[in-house]
Symmetry: C2
Subunit: 408 residues, 2 copies
């Protein structure tokens, strides 16, 4: 029997999706599940999207340009320009969602064996893309006590090696909800300039910012024309997760030439969805404003509900729609599976993502889970009630002292 590859063996299963079979079994038993395990918003996709899809008149669904439809790219450049990011026409490639943009960025910037420094907890699929690209993720741990802010720049310096080629940040952060402001990014800017590193920023949650302060893009930072690579997506911004449309943007011509070659190999991103996304760009500012306000209220709701639970620590959440929270439990993986297999409250339970999968450092996150607050407030309230009951009933509850927030 032929052996599969070592990289296939090492490839991590998604910590978000590996609980799916247990959820399916719970549903089959008739249990209602509140899905806080995945960033699938319940917000309606823009009416403009559906209208464009239904009005699409071609008889043949053809390939698009490998870099994406020219009209979509032009409109995205306008979208960025209105937000203070001026790019040229060769500085954007439409990708099959943010996932592909991250993969293209890693492959363009790093060779097999090279290292990318990533603050953890991190978006779990970075580990998967790194495995596929045969690059090493060097984690730099952020802590709940400090609201998962970036650690002092000396911590980054300590992790530099001759193989370090890039720093990758998700801002605002999935899975922590932390938002890195201009001051924190400034230190990274100086470091990448000094050491000639790429600064790859996953900014797919940029609109989800509850601070009132601007969340700067790496493409707005002076002097980083050759260093900054930005990953974007419409999945969250327009509640179009299933469209699989994202963008890779950089002013580094070599990076973009490489991205186009990777794009050519897979021929094109989905055609029909690009048409819908292009139309969605006409959604008024009020669409985003309403979405952000709704998520702000949801954030407020879960923050206060979680903080009222004994032994639970909820840090400050400034952006995105996730929280990584500490629970008084022995093992997050066991707890999340137990929620699906052995618990229900009034016929309902909660699906959460164990935080262990969001740390590259083995052993971290055992008392943490990621909560995606992507349900309406009524459902969120009931989900919080479920979680509170579950924590009381869970056999693996611990009484060890919880971490203390330093800033909040």
């Amino acid at each position: 029997m032929p052996k599969i590859s070592s990289r296939a063996v090492q490839m991590p299963a998604s910590p978000i999706r590996r609980l799916v079979p247990f959820a399916e079994a719970a549903k089959a038993r008739g249990t209602h599940i509140y899905h806080l395990n995945i960033g699938q918003p319940d917000v309606e996709s823009p009416a403009e999207f559906w209208k464009a899809i239904r009005g699409f008149g071609d008889k043949v669904l053809e390939y698009s340009h490998s870099a994406g439809n020219a009209s979509l790219r032009r409109k995205m450049l306008h979208f960025y320009s209105e937000r203070g990011i001026d790019l040229g026409e060769n500085q954007i490639v439409v990708t099959t969602a943010g996932s592909e943009a991250i993969r293209f960025a890693l492959m363009a910037c790093l060779d097999p064996g090279d290292e990318v420094i990533v603050p953890e907890p991190l978006y779990a699929n970075y580990l998967g893309f790194a495995c596929e690209s045969d690059v090493s993720v060097v984690p730099i741990t952020t802590h709940i006590e400090h609201d998962f802010r970036l650690p002092p720049i000396e911590e980054f310096r300590r992790r530099l090696s001759p193989r370090t080629k890039a720093i990758l940040v998700c801002n605002p952060s999935n899975p922590t909800g932390a938002l890195y402001g201009a001051d924190q990014l400034e230190e990274l800017r100086e470091l990448v300039l000094e050491r000639d590193l790429f600064l790859i920023a996953d900014e797919v949650y940029r609109e989800f910012n509850y601070t009132g302060q601007e969340c700067p893009s790496v493409l707005q930072m002076a002097g980083l024309e050759r260093h900054a690579v930005m990953v974007d997506s419409v999945s969250k911004r327009y509640s179009l997760c299933g469209a699989r449309i994202g963008f890779l943007c950089s002013r580094n011509g070599e990076v973009m030439t490489s991205a186009l070659k990777f794009a050519q190999a897979r021929l094109s991103p989905p055609t029909l969805e690009q048409v819908g996304v292009e139309a969605s760009l006409a959604a008024p500012q009020s669409y985003f404003d309403a979405v952000r306000e709704e998520y702000r209220l949801r954030r407020d709701l879960i923050t206060s509900e979680l903080r009222a639970m004994e032994g639970v620590v909820c840090p400050r959440i400034d952006g995105a729609f996730y929280a990584t929270v500490h629970l008084p439990i022995d093992d997050a993986d066991v707890f999340c599976r137990w929620l699906l297999e052995s618990f229900e409250h009034r016929g309902r339970t909660v699906m959460l993502a164990p935080a262990t999968g969001f740390y590259a450092t083995e052993g971290l996150g055992k008392q943490e889970v990621r909560i995606a607050y992507v349900l309406n407030r009524e459902a969120l309230g009931k989900a919080m009630e479920c979680l509170g009951e579950a924590l009381n009933a869970y056999p693996g509850r611990t009484e060890a002292p919880a971490p203390r927030l330093a800033h909040s």
Copy 2:
């Protein structure tokens, strides 16, 4: 300035798409271009597809299951079963087109540095996916004199090394139109069993078979349960190139577990398109029959037109909708660019793909082009007229003796 990766530098630009800027310039000058350079059929996508898309009633375009919608997978299993391929429910993963299926197959079966033997001329993007996956393509040259059939199995044996992990075939073949029958596959079957190799078959053109004989799937071959991996796509079968929906199928559980992990990392294939594809499966057999008959007539047309041109060699074409043909020219890359930059006949020209990009062996294919006969017969006839005129006018025409077909 940070350096991009060596793999990005080595990544081949698509030979099919790198001429696009010259085509755009020709169009801007008002020249009509017959696109024989890319496998973009002009056949209408099924009415069932458009109906399902327009009738899609969800308000939120959500992620699908990472392995694809369960209902689509079930219907595909039924589709395969009706064609003599019986698979279980965990033996299929929906991919973002055949491109992703090939990439998943390579990553699941081969580690960086491992070798895959591929008959050339080959589908050019295999070289790109191999570069992304850091695996080596070991080409085995097939020849126009023998209608690009597989060479004797000894040729394969000669290329085996301790790093050989797989043989990859495209059957029917893009770019040659060759179809490998049961006898040729049988020798490969024995070899992969003997040496415990994977046999990866790209069968996206299976319906495009003009021989009257069946084109066997590797999944129908006895004893290859652990060895056979099949790549499929709806792009050509349903004229849905822009949908980006494909499939990876195998009875090897480890391969499929690996494929699912790769699939989880990128979350899901496009949601809306899966709904359309599922509906397309209800297209009647007459849809395929009509499509195949149309392509058979197109094949007949280009074969006779090409064979009437002096110095042109058109081999036997049994399947798919491509021909790799010999032209009396000095350099296919120069010729294909010249067609776009410096030639027109009655305001028209032809876009072809130079065959050099379809050979992994440097220097081969300089007098060959790939023709995709994806236009209606009237357009094809005019395109052939253009090509004939172009060959007469081309300054780099050679009078060297052409290869002679042994079988046709």
